[in-house]
Symmetry: C2
Subunit: 296 residues, 2 copies
């Protein structure tokens, strides 16, 4: 792992939420760039970015923000990728690198690649990090420390450009993993997207309970429910886009989950104690794997 | 809240796992009892309890353990309640209090009440606390600090006996809540049992993945899956019994959850972005409730 800090020239960030603002904080703190330009959809976000000292230039005009940028990092929800790249493509300078931080890589390639001009490089990335908080104020420079960052460049992508993006994330404290985009989306469907979907669902189910029962569910949430409410407090726009963009893999994994849940439901209905014990015992092994992999 | 420490006389504990051994540690540390007797199913558990200094007397013979006990606390899985109470009932002294720590209270009343001799009091209790670890070594005296303990005595239960059990849990740092057993089981189905069931299911689904994908799911588990593996590492015997004993409430809540998940699945399949956003936004309110209730 090459943790050497280098200067990445001029960096333009699209979106200044949890991920974008954490990245900006690190770039600022460690002097990783000569210039940070920030583009966002609302003036309020830009004002916050400016007041936090995270930007040398802020702009609602996407093309103006990428002027002369060496690296362009898209940190907005996945559904904005196509309009953003369309608007900035003509302003990109030769040799520039376009990257992103989105949780689905198949759709990132699909939406970005066709608009990348000749001589500009596309290196999609996914820092596997986050909290349930969103917005420019929620960022912090330790967010990526010791976390994975998965790069999914298409075959034939310029190696120097890939190495530059890898170096940027290494400078943020991440460990780099290379993966094929479709495979990335399968893995994330199971490790991240389905857990979030389930957490949103159960918290939604609780929301629909009669008032008295709902208040008690909140009061006694420490029994397990609490952890789900934290997960289900994540940014709604981001997650809406994740499920739309990773539809196939999510539906496939959800189908498997549903079958397993139905089997468990049946075991409970028929009082099949041994079936329940066997599953509950078997799942401990995965936990040991997580602990051994130092991800606990 | 009455935090005054009193002496509870002679206490007998059945089972010396996470809850039983945590309770024993507090009783020892704060001198809450003159004598602690520990009964368990295996000599190994008794030896551990003895070596940890948690027992004045250990015994595989249930009746011997309750000899002269003022308070008997059942800390074993729910399926053991009926055989335990049957074996100790003849040895209980007049005025003794039988209590438990089980997660389902309807079945606790059903299994214990018919065997309680005249002059002996039954005060079921549920300390809403735990970790994913089990066994005598996993206990610690801070486990119940600031956590709820729910008492579900049947109507007409001796008030002094109820107050004694409440005092014992207050002495352990808990806050007391009184509830009707059936209602308790409904609330816990949603706050604890369904979250555990879902966590077990998804970790089971991951366990069945092809080897390569499973290894990557473990490697990248920090995206959300990790939290589910922790929940799904809880004691399998305990949870098997919870689902069998709280069958009705669990199946009812599971049905609601299933309907909601199916609706969400349909929204993903048809790309209904607005439906997804609306749900993901709505669930944030419950999180705010959890934070306001200081349960976060």
């Amino acid at each position: 792992m090459n943790a050497e800090k280098r200067n990445f020239g001029r960096i333009a960030l699209f979106g200044i939420g949890l991920i974008g603002s954490s990245l900006a904080r690190i770039i600022r703190r460690d002097g990783l760039a000569d210039h940070i330009a920030v583009a966002a959809r609302t003036q309020a976000s830009l004002d916050t970015a400016a007041s936090l000292g995270l930007a040398d230039l802020t702009s609602l005009d996407a093309a103006a923000a990428v002027q002369d940028a060496d690296i362009i990092v898209i940190c907005t929800p996945l559904s904005t990728y196509a309009p953003i790249i369309e608007s900035i493509a003509p302003a990109l300078k030769p040799g520039a690198i376009v990257t992103d931080v989105g949780s689905v890589k198949g759709s990132a390639l699909r939406d970005l690649a066709p608009h990348i001009p000749d001589g500009v490089h596309l290196v999609p990335a996914h820092p596997v990090a986050g909290t349930e908080h969103s917005g420019p104020e929620s960022g912090f420079p330790e967010l990526f420390d010791g976390r994975w960052c998965i790069l999914t460049p298409a075959p034939g992508t310029d190696e120097k450009a890939v190495e530059t993006v890898a170096d940027l994330w290494r400078a943020c404290g991440s460990t780099i993993e290379m993966m094929e985009a479709e495979h990335h989306d399968q893995v994330m469907a199971m490790t991240s997207h389905i857990p979030h979907l389930i957490a949103y669902t159960i918290v939604g189910t609780a929301t629909d309970l009669e008032q008295t029962l709902r208040n008690e569910v909140i009061k006694f949430s420490a029994g397990g429910f609490r952890d789900f409410t934290r997960i289900a407090a994540s940014d709604p726009s981001m997650w809406r886009d994740v499920f739309i963009c990773n539809q196939d893999a999510v539906l496939e994994m959800l189908q498997r989950f549903n079958e397993d849940l139905t089997a468990l439901q049946r075991a409970i209905r028929w009082g099949e104690a041994d079936t329940l014990y066997e599953l509950f015992d078997r799942t401990r092994e995965i936990r040991r794997g997580v602990i051994d992999a130092k991800q606990a």
